[in-house]
Symmetry: none
Subunit: 248 residues, 2 copies
DNA sequence: CGTTATTTGTGCGTATGTATT
DNA sequence: AAATACATACGCACAAATAAC
């Protein structure tokens, strides 16, 4: 990835505004700078600023009112991001940081193995923490079949505790597996923080967390990864856009 | 209100292309007309055609490749960027029962009003409980702009506390509003049960619940309904399927 | 009450760049 | 190498909604 192409001007403007929003610069429903102000600040035309806002509106980050201005659609200080597709999840790495807390290793996990539809109870597993702006907001445990684990073993960042990275596991897998990842079954519920997770998130054990399980499958329908994540609800909410079905 | 505003030129172009796609005109992965062709066909500038395509791309209807052209996003490969759809939600009523606990009434709610983008703080609101197999699992508070509230006031089941029904609010609205409901922004997080909600769900106050906010908008992008639901996590988990959305 | 300034929305023209065929 | 097609960027003019006076 990383894609050596030059980043377009409007993308730079959009990223700048997005970062300021995430840093809370326009917190209490205050108005964002006008198109004209942003154009001058970045030394670009008003049209380029408008193009940047189109993306931010599409992401659900801001909304605009003719004659009034542009406003953040934020809920509290939650870390907002539009998820709804696998590619969105892969994009998660752009502004968060991941830190391995339990490196990739072989272990016996009956539950994970059965959800991965494995013939025995051996899986390869690792646990990491994700932070935004230096604050941890999510702990994820990933379990994969041994064959997939062998593929991941060649990625040094995953085999050393404390290593940092900006990648996502599905991004790594997608590039290394013979068949691409095609879909994921997802389940969202509430679960109390177990002691280990609480320590990593810096919250009291037993605190309610948002738990998201995702079982990824490749194009052949084979399960390739089970990810169980626990999010701090103060810092993260899961957002998506629902649309109408096509065809009646 | 029917929205007497003129439909913008690019919206007309987008709708035309969308309709042709839905009628199967460009079914088998064939290329869509080029920007220049569409510009001439509609007698507009190439920029206007581009603006129309920006919407279609954002909807996930088409994808574009520089130098090659524009193509329909096929359902089997990608298309639905989302998991559940609004029509799935409308089908919710089939096996659950809804019971009004606070009938439709006018009240001042700054938060709801601002999320509905209303100029003042007055909304119409009602609260109901949803049960499955006789066990309540969800409490929902719906807030709508006064104009929409007037439409709902003609539905007797919503104006009487204790009334039961099997409908959904969006189902009612969709049939009665001038513009159909087109999409919803959804946010999922964890929230403790407030006393009133706890009583209705039969759980201790303060217990962690799964909270789902949905802001529905019509085809003009105007917010028409805000629904805030609290679910008992033991009885309900939110499940979806994620799919790929781009073409590798 | 209209008037005016501000701010976003629409529409188009032009030029240039990049990817594909 | 040339033609085609989409992408970016800037400019301008005017419309429409809002807010302040």
């Amino acid at each position: 990835m990383t894609d050596g192409r030059r980043e377009s001007t409007y993308a730079v403007v959009a990223r700048d505004v997005r970062n300021r929003i995430l840093q809370g610069a326009y917190a209490d429903g205050r108005r964002l700078p006008t198109e004209a102000e942003l154009a001058e600040r970045h030394g670009v035309s008003r049209q380029t600023v408008r193009r940047a806002f189109q993306d931010l509106v599409a992401e659900g980050m801001v909304y605009r009112v003719p004659g009034r201005g542009t406003f953040v659609t934020r809920r509290d200080e939650a870390y907002l991001r539009q998820f709804g597709s696998i590619d969105d999840l892969m994009g998660l790495s752009v502004d968060t940081r991941m830190e391995v807390t339990a490196p990739l290793r072989r272990l016996v996990d009956v539950t994970a193995a059965s959800r991965l539809r494995l013939p025995d109870d051996v899986v390869h597993s690792l646990t990491f923490r994700r932070s935004h702006d230096g604050r941890p907001f999510c702990v994820t445990t990933v379990s994969v079949p041994p064959a997939v684990g062998a593929v991941l073993a060649s990625v040094p960042e995953l085999t050393v505790a404390g290593a940092g990275s900006r990648t996502t596991i599905i991004g790594l897998l997608d590039a290394r597996l013979p068949a691409p990842i095609a879909e994921a079954d997802q389940s969202i519920t509430v679960a109390p923080a177990d002691p280990a997770t609480a320590t990593q998130l810096g919250c009291p054990a037993g605190d309610p967390l948002l738990r998201i399980d995702r079982l990824y499958s490749d194009t052949a329908g084979r399960p390739v990864e089970l990810a169980v994540s626990h999010f701090l609800p103060e810092l993260y909410s899961y957002r998506t856009k629902l649309r109408r079905d096509r065809h009646a």
